[in-house]
């Protein structure tokens, strides 16, 4: 779908970009609309055409000759014969608000990649030109593909809407008429959602679930995470790609402490050190803060000292938690070089060290990022006790979006971690 972004004039089926997997017998439609009313009408027409074509292909020659001349009779025939009718197979409406053209392209590509696993009506809205006259330009793509599992055809639609002028401030009004009845609405707001703004609140108001990527929040992570926490406390179900990317890191650390010798060390942790990648000057700490927030919420730590920069010329951030009389010191170290080159985004975890100390024992657990996997080891008084590895997925966000779409409920663990992360990051 990339070509449907800025500047391209897609007016025929064949002009649809070839990024999507092309099945030989899939059928596509493309129409363009300038108003919401036209959009709704065109969508209806696309499906009428789709259904009619399907009936026509399925009818026998005899059926065709007797029915095609008379639409009323054709309707009768499908009650007596079993005709494969095309189904719009959406399981949800995915709304993407993508103000930047490159985000819109990225979103459209992700949506495209998802459509077999999560057939949906996807509405990608790109608000531009807040000052100009109100304008709207929509491209509607519909596609029917024979299902791999059944005889039916799966049909999906993508609506790319560009708005301009004052209309760009009323996106919820643009989206509402395009939603499919009774399907859950997932709102994906890539980049930096304007938490708390009227625009944001209105669009969230028509959605069942919000999908964000806290990893892409800009430098003031504390305020951003706080904004996200407010949304969560308002009862909105949130999926966070940044959080989902931490799953393997959580999994491995939890795995180390499954060892019977180490489980009890959880109550004696005194140091946590996290290296985060910082390929450019941008410093993004939300993932690390989230990871600390997760540890704190699971282990009952309270924030003692929020993350602060030790002194001006040092890049390291420090903070601490408290659990009873024990203090847990946290150090956050931005590192420029990563083992696997530069394709990891700013703020990704590179290494995690956890240390527990008791009068007669020291336990060290660490997870390090290798080229294509994470390696987790733990030693007790200098002897390695356990070791495990986890395969890293490519950085692509699509699988995470897919996962977020599959888990529609509230994630209690995420919420608790978020609350601590906010307190820890907003010093």
């Amino acid at each position: 779908m990339a070509g449907a972004g800025e500047g391209s004039s897609v007016t025929t089926e064949s002009a649809r970009p070839a990024e999507a997997p092309i099945e030989t017998d899939s059928t596509r439609w493309h129409v363009r609309a300038r108003t919401i009313g036209e959009c709704v009408e065109q969508l209806g027409q696309v499906w009428t055409t789709a259904a009619e074509q399907a009936v026509r292909t399925e009818l026998s020659d005899e059926g065709k000759s007797s029915a095609l001349g008379d639409p009323r009779l054709a309707g009768h025939l499908d009650s007596r014969r079993s005709v494969r009718v095309r189904m719009r197979t959406s399981v949800l409406t995915l709304v993407v608000i993508a103000p930047r053209p490159e985000t819109a392209e990225r979103a459209a590509a992700a949506v495209n990649a998802l459509h077999q696993r999560h057939p949906s009506r996807a509405i990608v809205v790109s608000p531009t030109d807040f000052d100009g006259p109100s304008t709207m330009d929509a491209h509607i793509y519909a596609e029917c593909t024979p299902s791999r599992r059944s005889d039916a055809e799966m049909c999906t639609e993508q609506i790319l809407v560009k708005t301009g002028g004052e209309l760009s401030q009323h996106l919820s009004r643009v989206v509402t008429p395009l939603l499919i009845h009774d399907l859950p609405v997932v709102l994906w707001w890539p980049d930096d959602p304007p938490f708390g703004s009227r625009q944001f609140t209105e669009v969230v108001g028509i959605s069942d679930r919000l999908l964000v990527d806290s990893g892409s929040f800009h430098e003031d992570s504390g305020a951003r995470l706080a904004g996200l926490a407010t949304v969560v406390s308002d009862g909105v179900s949130v999926s966070d790609i940044g959080w989902l990317r931490l799953t393997l890191w959580r999994e491995l650390l939890a795995g180390l402490f499954d060892h019977p010798l180490l489980t009890r060390e959880l109550d004696h942790i005194r140091h946590v050190r996290i290296d985060i990648s910082r390929p450019t000057s941008t410093l993004r700490i939300s993932k690390a803060a989230f990871y600390c927030g997760w540890l704190a919420s699971r282990l009952g730590w309270e924030v003692k000292q929020p993350l602060t920069r030790r002194n001006d010329d040092d890049e390291m951030l420090t903070g601490s938690f408290r659990s009873g009389r024990r203090e847990i010191k946290v150090e956050l170290r931005p590192v420029r070089a990563t083992l696997d080159g530069s394709h990891r985004a700013a703020g990704s975890l590179v290494r995690v060290d956890v240390e527990a100390e008791r009068p007669r024992s020291v336990m060290r657990a660490r997870i390090t990022r290798q080229a294509d996997h994470l390696l987790a080891t733990a030693d007790w008084n200098g002897a390695q006790v356990t070791r495990r590895a986890g395969q890293l997925e490519p950085f692509d966000e699509t699988p995470f979006i897919a996962e977020a779409l599959e888990r529609p409920g509230m994630d209690k663990i995420f919420e608790a971690a978020l609350i601590r992360a906010v307190r820890f990051a907003s010093g």
Partner: protein, 551 residues
């Protein structure tokens, strides 16, 4: 076409201006339906339509009006095109404007070109146009009706319409009474022994409160028998509304659940995205409660709530519908109106991609107007089936999108075995979509396919457009055909109309009393155009721990 019905068959209450709805006419009087007396044509068996209406003249009063050109003429043409009307069928326009037959044919052609769902084909049009006539006249002028009667007799002779007449009142309601009276004066209300029926179709609004509805009914039955009167509510002609009865009574599995034991509550929404569309003066006199609630919303409610009729037959159906209306408490205390009704008026805002003015800035609307463009209310049908099941109704103009829907929400299972799952359980829901995307959706819980046990709501969806590729007929086509066939099932009877007004009128009167006293806490609520109505409407339902469905 004879009717065995005695002339004045409506049971009347003693007092002239009844405050309570009247008792309905006896159902038995219609058991010998007029059309059943004709011997059936054995050749018709198995054909598309098993009965074809008798040839007749359709006399449209207000022939140059908007409704005629947008709905009535295209409906007649499409019926004819589909082979559902005999070739003798004749249209006679009657209106004040001085036009010739040729002028009116031209007008008709323009209306078809613009509004018909199928564009006219030359051959058929030529044939159709031969049966179009025009009779100019003032509605108040007796002689014009004499001319009309004469003209109709000539047409009977020339075109073989056999004295059958369908009078269609497509005029402003203020003209109804004089038209009806004049028709009576020249004897056009009379029906023949075996053939030559006369029927009258009355458009909404049928009165503007209980008193005026009673008065209009009186004027009608002075001239026509109730069995000749067809009060149109075009919602009842919509395919999905007609399907509602098939759905309820043609299936065995839903009816057992259709009661207070299993149903938590019912929501009925008629949402429009349009505003008053240049009819400000009309709307100032009407408002949402009169324009939609009294007829469409309450009619939908009766169809959902009614008991199974003893037969799929006009009066059996209407008896049951009337019973539902009479089970709704028409006594509105001030406290009850305050607690269970919200009225609203739209202010400027964005609807879809357009910025629209507020109601008070519309043309022909008073700048301090208190007219309701939105109503939400909670009603209870007090009978054994529905006691304690709230019905939440809402309608409004300039809402976020056009959507009409009936949603039946069922109770949660008594015990949740899957409490530990991440999604809070959602109750089962049955949604009957009337427009757009006509269809039916059933929501139930399913296990998410994975190793653990997670429960999620899924939808089982039937959409008309995908299961049947044929177009559903326009509501007006259905209703006109029924009127010509003499089937009044989808038309409202006098007692229904009055019972509906009896529910709505006291509520409106309470608003008017508040507006006169000017107390600010009972003022009309406002809502931004393009939203889902005033916040108070959300509070109305949230107060009971429920939510409006997002449509």
């Amino acid at each position: 076409m004879a009717t065995t019905t005695p002339k004045k068959n409506r049971a009347r209450t003693a007092t002239g201006t009844a405050k309570a709805p009247r008792t309905p006419p006896q159902a038995t009087v219609h058991l010998n339906r007029p059309t059943e007396e004709r011997e059936e044509n054995p050749l018709r068996a198995g054909l598309l339509l098993e009965k074809v209406p008798d040839p007749c003249s359709i006399v449209v009063f207000g022939a140059t009006g908007d409704l005629t050109s947008r709905k009535i003429l295209p409906a007649i043409y499409n019926l004819r095109r589909a082979g559902l009307l005999p070739a003798e069928t004749t249209v006679v326009g009657f209106s004040r404007r001085q036009l010739s037959d040729a002028d009116f044919r031209k007008l008709t052609r323009e209306s078809l070109d613009q509004h018909s769902r199928v564009k006219p084909e030359e051959g058929l049009w030529h044939d159709f146009a031969e049966g179009i006539f025009y009779e100019p006249g003032q509605f108040s002028e007796r002689s014009a009706y004499r001319d009309l009667a004469e003209r109709l007799e000539q047409i009977d002779a020339a075109r073989g319409t056999r004295g059958n007449r369908l009078f269609y009142l497509a005029t402003p309601p203020s003209a109804y009474e004089e038209i009806v009276e004049n028709l009576g004066q020249v004897g056009l209300n009379k029906q023949g022994e075996r053939e030559g029926w006369a029927r009258i179709v009355v458009e909404k609004p049928f009165g503007h409160d209980l008193e005026s509805a009673v008065k209009l009914n009186d004027a009608l039955v002075r001239v026509f028998d109730e069995s000749q009167i067809y009060r149109i509510d075009h919602y009842l002609g919509k395919e999905t509304v007609r399907n509602l009865m098939v759905f309820r009574f043609g299936n065995g599995i839903f009816e057992p659940l259709w009661n207070r034991r299993y149903v938590d509550h019912i929501q009925i929404t008629v949402a429009e995205d349009v505003g008053v569309e240049g009819r400000g003066a009309f709307y100032e006199e009407a408002g949402a409660a009169r324009d939609i609630l009294q007829n469409h919303l309450l009619q939908l409610l009766t169809l959902v709530a009614m008991e199974p009729p003893i037969a799929f037959e006009a009066d059996a159906l209407r008896d049951e519908k009337g019973r539902v209306l009479r089970a709704i408490d028409p006594n509105w205390t001030e406290a009850r109106v305050r607690a269970s009704v919200v009225r609203g008026q739209y202010t400027a805002g964005w609807v879809g991609d357009k910025h629209v003015p507020g109601y008070r800035d519309e043309e022909e609307v008073a700048p301090d107007s208190k007219v309701d463009t939105f109503v939400a209310l909670k009603l209870e049908v007090q009978n054994w089936r529905w006691a304690d099941v709230p019905f939440y109704l809402r309608t409004g103009k300039r809402l976020a999108r056009r959507a009409t829907e009936i949603a039946i929400q069922f109770k949660l299972p008594p015990l949740m075995l899957f409490g530990g799952t991440s999604t809070p359980p959602e109750p089962n829901l049955l949604a009957l979509r009337i427009q757009p995307d006509e269809g039916i959706m059933l929501r139930f819980a399913a296990k998410v396919p994975e190793l653990g046990l997670d429960v999620r709501s899924v939808n089982m969806d039937f959409t008309y457009g995908l299961s049947f590729t044929r177009d559903a007929p326009e509501a007006y086509e259905t209703l006109l055909l029924d009127a010509m066939l003499g089937d009044a099932s989808l038309f409202t009877r006098a007692d229904e109309v009055e019972a509906a007004w009896a529910i709505v009128t006291p509520m409106i009167q309470q608003w008017q009393a508040w507006d006169r006293s000017g107390s600010p806490d009972s003022d009309i609520c406002t809502y931004e155009a393009g939203s889902w109505g005033p916040e108070a409407a959300d509070q109305l339902i949230e107060h009971d721990g429920r939510r409006w469905r997002r449509l």
